[in-house]
Symmetry: C2
Subunit: 134 residues, 2 copies
């Protein structure tokens, strides 16, 4: 199993809940799931994992760099597998659909702005709220 080595690689003991949660994030058709989403999906799949464990494991995964946590608009956080490289998000205000994008020009400008202010960029969060053109 590929996932198990992923877990060991980041220094996490390979336990059933951790494997199941990682698989769920990997195999779901939704890119972004809340802790509750993961929990419900596992329950429906007949996997018996506690919600508290889901929260704990997702937090560990985030610390390990396996997943990325997003706080799109308050309320609940969503998590996505840290598959490829970095990207930002567009959220459709009508459908809730999430589109990922990456723009190197914007990335570059961010670094420049920060440097101009005497800082260095640690991380950033860019969400574009959009609507389908009429």
């Amino acid at each position: 199993m590929v996932e198990n080595s992923e877990l060991r690689k980041v220094g996490l003991k390979v336990t059933l809940p951790r494997v199941k949660i990682l698989q769920m994030l990997d195999t779901t058709d939704r890119r972004h799931m809340s802790a509750e989403d993961v929990y419900k999906a596992l329950m429906e799949a007949g996997e018996d994992v506690g919600l508290a464990t889901v929260y704990r494991v997702l937090t560990q995964f985030e610390a390990a760099g396996l997943v990325v946590r997003h706080n799109f608009d308050g309320g609940h956080a969503v998590f996505e597998l840290a598959d490829g490289g970095h990207h930002d998000h567009m959220v459709c205000v009508d459908s809730g659909e999430v589109i990922e994008f990456f723009d190197s020009e914007i990335e570059k400008l961010q670094k420049e702005i920060v440097k101009r202010h005497g800082y260095e960029l640690v991380d950033h969060n860019l969400v574009l709220y959009v609507r389908k053109k009429a």
Copy 2:
């Protein structure tokens, strides 16, 4: 009083709590306050306003465009007076300091990216997490 006409202008009845909260946001030295911050500041100023009212009023102010709500990193939301034009934020991960900035190039690029995907930009949220250069 300037604030009272502000309230009437947006269709909100001029009540003591609303005036006090608006004044607090206007006169504080902090640009960004949470609902709790506003509540505590009012209490210390001897103003007797309920926390629930602070939440309700801030939400109304946001809907009216008088304030802008930010969800910097989960946890609690912060509000700032919608004084001038739009701007984005840098948050220092060490000190918590918030710096405002505006970059027309980034703004332009956002619109272009969205258009390229067949959408129109409704709003956006950009926060740069930074650290003072060593």
